[in-house]
Symmetry: C2
Subunit: 391 residues, 2 copies
């Protein structure tokens, strides 16, 4: 059992997955709040919105039209953060002393890639929390096909990718083409920003998929930490051990099925942060069996429904999947362990959020309620989606 003392005292916790510490101040939730309140999400949206650039059949910003898709629909982001083609960049190098310092302190590297938008449903007014696990399966299948089609040809998971592609029928509403062969991308970040508080500009349920020629910081740090742990601990995996510890302690577990564990991690920064971890060694989406895809859909459904039930609101969050890079060595694939992060800002109610600002940005992340308290609250709010009982 977690030392009960930690419920009352300020302390730091260590995040072994990214190698950094955070500050926990459990008594702080008692302070009054006179700051910004979020506008509660009213959620009275139409099932089809003629102005929405994600609804079936509608025109998008740059003139393309969406097909009359049924489940999911993916397309190249009209305002991608990275592009496949751009001017070349070769940093100037000079041999005089002054400029050497400059090239040391002003380092840049070009970044190319492709960004996609993927809708979860044709319905403008739905969310993952409203969808059933079997309705979420097509989303996971689309993620899997997109990931598989972007893997390098010599990727250690190619066989699994081919199996997955043969198992999952292509989307009848069209599929995204991977970039041309010469452009092998390094990493695919699947993420969702949900709710205005998390910078989402369109309520139509969707995620984004950014693929880049470089390995981004966060999955890069995790890979380093997981590799280090594996070397130092007799070939055991960090998240394998972590799943074992959390299942034995049973204090931060929110929900589980055979294939996935849902926990408020020991090192959670966001108030109701959740980590969905594969129980067996799954390196990437393509290694999930059909049954595991359904179980993953169940886990996503449980997290998002509980979030909405917690404060009876359309709960904002950012979520993202970490898995093996698109192009990687045998060792990097081996060290990868499939998991999904959920970072939600709400803290006390549907309108009072936690701000990660001054101290958090300048010094270190700080949270108020403990992850154990958060897990207990999320465990207790399963059951029917609150909106459905209201209808």
């Amino acid at each position: 059992m977690t030392d009960k003392v930690l419920d009352d005292i300020s302390h730091r916790r260590y995040n072994p997955l990214n190698g950094s510490w955070l500050l926990v101040s459990p008594h702080r939730t008692k302070r009054p709040w006179q700051g910004q309140q979020e506008a509660p999400a009213l959620n009275k949206l139409p099932e089809y919105d003629p102005q929405c650039y994600l609804c079936p059949g509608n025109k998008r910003a740059q003139g393309d039209s969406n097909p009359q898709y049924k489940n999911t629909f993916a397309f190249v982001n009209d305002y991608s953060a990275v592009k496949e083609e751009q001017q070349e960049y070769h940093p100037e190098k000079n041999s005089n002393g002054e400029d050497d310092i400059a090239s040391l302190l002003l380092q840049a590297q070009p970044a190319i890639g492709r960004c996609y938008v993927l809708t979860f449903s044709a319905k403008h007014d739905t969310t993952l929390a409203d969808m059933s696990a079997s309705e979420i399966v097509p989303v996971i299948e689309t993620w899997t096909r997109i990931y598989a089609s972007h893997l390098s040809s010599s990727h250690p998971l190619q066989a699994a990718a081919q199996r997955a592609l043969s198992e999952i029928p292509p989307n009848p509403d069209g599929e995204v083409e991977p970039p041309k062969k010469e452009l092998q991308l390094r990493y695919m970040q699947i993420f969702e920003n949900k709710g205005a508080a998390m910078g989402c500009s369109n309520p139509h349920p969707h995620c984004q998929i950014w693929t880049t020629s470089t390995l981004p910081e966060e999955p890069g740090k995790e890979l380093v930490q997981m590799t280090k742990y594996h070397r130092e601990h007799k070939g055991r995996h960090l998240l394998e051990d972590y799943v074992k510890v959390e299942m034995a302690k049973n204090e931060r577990v929110v929900w589980q099925n055979d294939a996935f564990l849902v926990v408020c991690p020991w090192w959670a920064v966001w108030p109701f942060e959740v980590l969905v971890i594969a129980k067996r060694h799954v390196r990437a989406l393509v290694e999930l069996t059909p049954e595991e895809r359904l179980q993953f859909a169940e886990a996503v459904q449980e997290v998002t429904r509980r979030y909405d039930n917690l404060f009876e609101t359309n709960f904002p969050y950012s979520s993202g999947i970490h898995q093996a890079p698109l192009d990687c060595t045998e060792e990097e694939a081996e060290m990868s362990w499939f998991h999904m992060h959920f970072y939600p800002p709400l803290l006390r109610s549907a309108t009072v959020r936690k701000f990660l600002v001054g101290y958090e940005l300048m010094a270190e992340p700080q949270r108020d309620i403990t992850p154990e308290q958060a897990a207990a609250r999320l465990r207790d709010c399963g059951g029917k989606l609150y909106r459905k009982s209201l209808q």
Copy 2:
């Protein structure tokens, strides 16, 4: 000159001060924005607000009353994130295998300390941008006295601290007492959250000062990076060299005086992020001369006034000072280089902010306009505070 290509292409830049990369996508500001808009700060506040717990003479949340202070006033935060006294915590250690994994993956350490609130002015309706440099000097003097009085007795900067304490008269409205001798704190983080968008719950101009028994992540990372640079580059300092490079290039400089350089750093994450750097090797507040304190006040005034002028609004930001730890070795003091960060969220206008969400949290920070473009805009909006011209 910066390669002009970087104005147009997506690229990554390296932050040598904290050792991580970020993604820059200059073309992205062109996308339309349909998301959350910030409420413009109306700034029609009274000079004295009887409800404000920071105004002179008023009662605070836990019953204490503020004195009729004239300039600044500091007190222990009624809802401190860390406290001086709390129950002891000794993590349980077990020798059986299962528990060893647990103590490895569930690491915690107690955190004690003291948190202060410091008002910048007796006037409820002012901000640093409204104050003159000489009105800001008392703020810097108070920071200096508080820092000096919390230094360890054997601190390498003790002599400078004693000189500063003798130069700066004590605040006639009272001073904070350092914690008792047995409790030597390790670090003091001075920071300001300004504006509702940055989680500030009271517009009365104030900052916070959190002192802790541990060295927080961010200043810790910077110290490691600065020390490494010093070792690898013939005893030169990272920020010393950086000041030289920026002064020579003159592309990201916003403003400067003899003692301080104000730049949008090469590696800025926030749209109009600014770094104020001491030009000579100042390790901490206590090493500033009276003339340099005035010059630092000028720099803070220039940054905050330009911010407000940029979109003619009460510009939100979080800012924070990094300097030598309160308790440190000779080497750690030597490696420290006084600087101040400003992280403002606004991007396109007084109401459209940049969200650091999904990709930024899951993968790596991403920015839209380049630091060079940001610096050019900030250079161009000096002059009188826009509100004053409107009166």
